[in-house]
């Protein structure tokens, strides 16, 4: 609520407020340097806010609540030389899990890492490293999951695996918040999004409601009783047709619209 953070003279966040609901996949989008990572770090308590507060069920979060959050920072976020199992046990123990070994083993087998459990993280393929990262964020069964650019650098199969795990985890009743540049992906996965630019929230809410309110300077032409081919032909007689289709504004269009200078 009203998160504000300054770095020296630069205002990184200026009154950013949004809400994430249980079971919700929440997409957090915005240009580079807009303040996504800063916002997530404040939610996790890694950074302090100059103003504003992070509420959990209406109550400001404290250290005990935060230790129940799960976080996956952008790129790595693992000890490269530590062995997979030891690492997961360590993170589980740090988050106060009563039986950290069991929790680590459970996630190791769930994410198909059993044959790699005693390897050092740096020896693993990038895809497997990402799985370990995910396991590290989930090993304490967090009550809120925050992921910074979890899909960057993943191949399409990796994207499918990760989005599957996230959707499955959200379905257990846990809010999942992640940032991404891949807008089509956010549109496909998320029920709600927040768009941030220069430290200000420029749009937030469910994807449906945002689509409805988009495009203030766009003219909506409703053509009735004509097929797409007829419209295309008519348009082609006066100029070049780039594309024609039935779609409403995609999230990508929406994004470009609201962050435009």
């Amino acid at each position: 609520m009203g998160l504000t953070r300054r770095f020296g003279d630069r205002v990184a966040l200026d009154g950013v407020s949004f809400a994430v609901e249980p079971r919700q996949m929440f997409g957090f989008v915005g240009p580079n340097g807009a303040g996504k990572t800063t916002t997530m770090r404040i939610i996790l308590g890694v950074l302090g806010a100059d103003a504003g507060s992070v509420l959990w069920n209406g109550v400001p979060v404290d250290m005990a609540t935060r230790s129940r959050f799960g976080y996956m920072p952008e790129e790595r976020g693992l000890y490269p030389k530590m062995r997979v199992r030891a690492q997961l046990v360590y993170f589980a123990a740090l988050h106060g899990v009563a039986a950290p070994e069991e929790a680590a083993d459970r996630w190791i087998s769930r994410l198909g890492l059993s044959s790699r459990a005693s390897d050092r993280v740096e020896q693993l393929s990038l895809g497997n490293q990402q799985r370990v990262q995910l396991a590290a964020a989930l090993v304490h069964e967090p009550s809120l999951l925050v992921l910074d650019e979890p899909f960057s650098g993943l191949d399409p199969v990796g994207v499918d695996v990760l989005s599957g795990v996230l959707a499955e985890y959200a379905a257990t009743g846990v809010p999942v918040l992640f940032s991404s540049h891949q807008l089509e992906l956010v549109e496909r996965l998320c029920e709600a999004v927040a768009i941030i630019k220069d430290g200000r929230l420029v749009a937030s809410g469910s994807v449906e409601s945002l689509r409805g309110s988009a495009g203030s300077d766009a003219v909506r032409v409703v053509v009735e009783g004509a097929s797409l081919e007829e419209v295309r032909a008519a348009a082609g007689s006066v100029g070049r047709v780039v594309s024609a289709g039935y779609a409403g504004p995609s999230l990508a269009e929406l994004f470009r619209e609201v962050v435009r200078d």
Binding site: G8, L44, S67, M72, R76, F91, A93
Partner: protein
């Protein structure tokens, strides 16, 4: 929380093969250093120059030339730079004379007189600890090992901080643990490891020295070595804080060397100061270094082993060291907390202090 972090630091480091190998090498060097002088000491004849201060003394000296053979040694009678002078029923020398030489002279003294005379008394002009040389050797090692240990473990603190920073692990850690607890756990874990390693090294060193007879190991000596370990703890707490700040300032291991430069220089200067102090443990310079906190952990143990530091000076030096460390630790923790998430580029120390104030 702090315990969890400390345990990870300790176990991860012990599991590295390089750690075990380096500990083994250090132990090997210690054993060799204690034993080598003994091994070489037994080989080959020894040469002594003996002077006779009076008639009886000259007779003893000349007899010693004949006796020497059975001791696998040679004796030359000369007044020029003698190892010992026999005069008035005494063996006189500036430093403690060799045991072999004393034995030769005692036997010669018995042989030159018809009636068994009283044994010669050994008189040295400078009061000398019989273990002076051995202790100087031990003090030399204490300096080298403390220097190496402070540098190595300080470096590990710094590289550990950078590792967490560059891999972004620190972001996950800081969502469950306060920065100063994380730093404390890291420093304590590595410090315990360093202390344990020193304990093993010094115990093995003392046992080998005692068993081989290279050193007369008594309560005083064990106490002095134990005090050296205390000095490691003091010095480590000081340097670990400083190294942690240096580590937190840079985003990548490649940039760490530059940031550590001033600190490694200070430790290196302390090493040379330690050598100078070992040569002259009661000199003005030795007394001055006792009151320079970054230097004292390297220079003081050698003086304590040599028995050249008065108790009040040790106490004052420890107090000053403790005081400066207690000032440095919270300062370091605040700077660490302020800059450890800055991943873009290296932060200047002045900028870091400004950020820490603003937090």
């Amino acid at each position: 929380m702090i315990r969890l972090v400390a345990r990870r630091e300790l176990t991860e480091r012990v599991r590295e093969r390089s750690f075990l190998v380096s500990t083994g090498i250090t132990l090997g060097i210690i054993v060799l250093a204690v034993l080598l002088p003994l091994i070489f000491g037994f080989g080959g004849p020894k040469h002594y120059v003996v002077a006779g201060g009076d008639a009886a003394g000259r007779a003893v000296a000349e007899q010693a030339v004949r006796v020497a053979d059975s001791f696998d040694a040679t004796v030359v009678v000369s007044d020029r730079d003698p190892d010992a002078t026999v005069e008035g029923g005494e063996i006189r020398s500036t430093d403690e004379p060799d045991d072999t030489l004393v034995n030769i002279l005692q036997v010669a003294n018995q042989q030159v007189q018809s009636a068994p005379p009283p044994a010669l008394r050994v008189v040295t002009s400078s009061p000398v600890d019989p273990d002076r040389d051995a202790k100087a050797g031990l003090a030399f090692f204490a300096i080298l090992i403390l220097y190496g240990q402070l540098l190595t473990y300080g470096m590990w603190v710094a590289t550990g901080v950078v590792e967490e920073k560059s891999s972004r692990v620190v972001e996950i850690l800081l969502s469950t643990i306060r920065p100063r607890d994380l730093l404390a756990g890291k420093a304590i874990g590595l410090g315990l490891l360093g202390l344990g390693q020193l304990l093993v090294i010094s115990t093995v060193g003392l046992i080998v020295a005692a068993v081989s007879g290279a050193l007369h190991v008594d309560g005083n000596l064990v106490g002095a070595v134990a005090l050296s370990l205390v000095w490691f703890v003091l010095g480590y707490a000081f340097y670990a804080s400083a190294f942690a700040v240096a580590g937190a300032l840079v985003p990548r291991q490649e940039e760490l060397q530059g940031a550590l430069m001033p600190l490694t220089m200070v430790i290196l200067i302390s090493l040379f100061a330690g050598f100078a102090v070992n040569e002259n443990p009661d000199g003005t310079f030795a007394h001055v270094t006792a009151f320079i906190p970054p230097m004292a952990p390297v220079t003081m143990p050698s003086r304590i082993i040599l028995g050249a530091a008065p108790a009040w000076e040790v106490a004052a030096s420890v107090a000053l060291m403790l005081g400066s460390t207690l000032l440095l630790v919270p300062f370091a923790a605040r700077i660490y907390a302020a800059v450890v998430l800055r991943t873009g580029s290296a932060v200047k120390l002045r900028e870091a202090i400004r950020l820490a104030r603003a937090e």
